[in-house]
Amino acid sequence: MARPEQCSGCNKPTTIHLSQIINNKIYKLDICEDCPLKKQVLDQGPFSLSEIFKIAMPHSKASASMVCPECGFTLAEFEKRGRMGCPECYTHLGSSIEPIIEEMHPGTTHAGKCPGLSMKRVDLHREMQRLKQDLQSAVQEEAYEQAAIIRDRIRDLEVGIESLAEEKAESAEEKSGG
């Protein structure tokens, strides 16, 4: 693979090429002689977020222009702020920041507390979205029998979502009342 000609830090021509192995992954960094990034990288200083973003972010124009359809946030924006735009960004842009997450944390899979009702609800909403898409394509393909089956399942799911909302309201009342 050809070495990038532009510095990862400031877009000047590169003169220094580093690779670093973190958690069995190779991160390549190409920087210029007088880059502000150079000092940060060469000093093995304490954990700094922006450095790691810069090292770990895959540098391709395609990924930088990736957009979260929920909130319009881009990966380029993430590189600037180090913060995501909305929870759904993790679904749509998540694959690009995986190396950062791996680098930062001891694991990549949640091992702690889970919210009970919210999680059920999120699952039902996801299922609903999937069914609606299926319904649309069934209608487009004029597969009306199939569409009818999907419609029934959507109706069942709506009932499920409603009863979950009630359950939630009740448990909230119960707790604050008692």
Binding site: P46, M84, P87, I97, M104, C114, K175
Partner: protein, 379 residues
């Protein structure tokens, strides 16, 4: 609800709790939570921020833990009031600078607070004067459960609680303790301690003054990693580390007093002298002097109650506390004068540090005969 509520409750906060503890000033757990379907506060449009604020504020007010609480909208506070809340560790500087539609609900006793629209939609925090992360976790998790009944959290089975910053993913839990480590600083061991902590994902930073020269030797120690381990594992590790640091601090204290007792007595005596007789004291100088008084109290050269006074003074001598106490804003020079007055008034009531009372009984370290090397016989 007015800011006076907070000032008036100040005594109560201290009054409620058990006495202060050697080395430890405070421990805290913070949980970050966000609502599904809304942009994070830093990216949300004003209307969305407002919608999140209203929803969260209502939910927080409805939970039983907040049945007696006060809510402050940041936009409704002046700079001095905001600063007061920062000095009390109830809100962050980031919340002060937020773009509107943000606030904090503070429970009675000021040991529990929920920030709305800081970096995340919700920041739940619970504090204690002692070191008991199990209790902090159980209190913060119970508050979290109550909120979750009323709100739809953004959560993914893989990444856990979804947060604005990827550093908080997973448990979104930050456990921290404020430690007073004057002997490790004097003994020039802090750098080594900090480096060792960093290697296991725990960070330490000076709480007052500059990063390079933390005044008062007060450090905040907290976990950096949140994903891939359970809350219990995280808090167990940090509590273990904090206990080790506390025991290192005690060993360094014993070593310092053994190595050159007169030098330590002199440091403490001079600090006392300035606090009792000074007329102009900056906040950084005051932190360093009070640090010596806390140390003197930990080693029984001063009565243990002095430690409570020191902790109260650390809070009350800060700019916003001083100015709100006086009811007007003061120039820095005037503040230094008021601060010195406050110290003189307090220390007039406090006896001179007594080297003959030196004792490491609270250290939990077996000092054997060595402590007696510096401790005059009580006979």
């Amino acid at each position: 609800m007015s800011i006076e509520w907070l000032v008036m409750q100040q005594g109560e906060r201290k009054g409620l709790e058990s006495p202060s503890y050697p080395v430890l000033l405070m421990s805290r757990i913070r949980l970050a939570r966000n609502l599904a379907g809304y942009s994070f506060p830093g990216w949300a449009k004003p209307a969305q921020r407002q919608a999140v604020y209203d929803t969260c504020k209502e939910a927080v007010a409805a939970v039983p833990q907040m049945s007696s609480s006060a809510h402050f909208e940041v936009g409704g506070l002046n700079d001095m009031e905001k600063q007061l809340l920062v000095e009390k560790h109830l809100i962050s500087k980031e919340l002060c600078e937020s773009r509107g539609s943000s606030g904090v609900t503070i429970a009675q006793g000021q040991l529990m607070a929920v920030m709305i629209n800081e970096e995340d939609h919700l920041r739940i925090q619970v504090m204690r004067p002692d070191l008991d992360f199990d209790a902090l976790w159980s209190d913060s998790s119970a508050l979290d459960d109550e909120l979750e009944k009323r709100l739809d959290y953004a959560f993914s089975p893989e990444l856990g609680y979804l947060t604005a910053c990827p550093t908080n993913l997973g448990t979104a839990l930050r456990a921290s303790a404020m430690l007073h480590l004057p002997a490790l600083v004097l003994d020039k061991q802090m750098e080594k301690v900090v480096r060792a902590m960093n290697q296991i994902g725990i960070v330490a930073r000076g709480l007052f003054g500059e990063a390079s020269d933390p005044s008062g030797s007060v450090f905040q120690i907290s976990n950096q990693q949140t994903l891939g381990e359970s809350e219990t594992v995280i808090i167990r590790r940090i509590e273990d580390v904090i206990r080790v640091v506390i025991s290192h601090e005690w060993k360094a204290r014993i070593r310092l007093f053994q190595g050159n007792a007169v030098k330590m007595f002199d440091r403490i005596g001079r600090a006392y002298g300035i606090l009792r007789g000074g007329h102009l004291i900056t906040s950084s100088e005051a932190m360093n002097l009070l640090s010596m008084m806390r140390l003197a109290s930990d080693v029984h050269m001063l009565p243990v109650q002095v430690r409570d006074s020191v902790d109260r003074l650390i809070m009350e001598m800060q700019p916003a506390h001083l100015q709100i106490g006086r009811g007007k804003s003061l120039a820095p020079g005037e503040r230094d004068e008021m601060r010195a007055d406050l110290m003189r008034r307090t220390f007039t009531e406090i006896p001179h540090p007594d080297p003959s009372k030196l004792s490491f009984v609270d250290s939990g370290v077996d000092t054997g005969t060595s402590a007696d090397d510096v401790k005059p016989d009580e006979g």
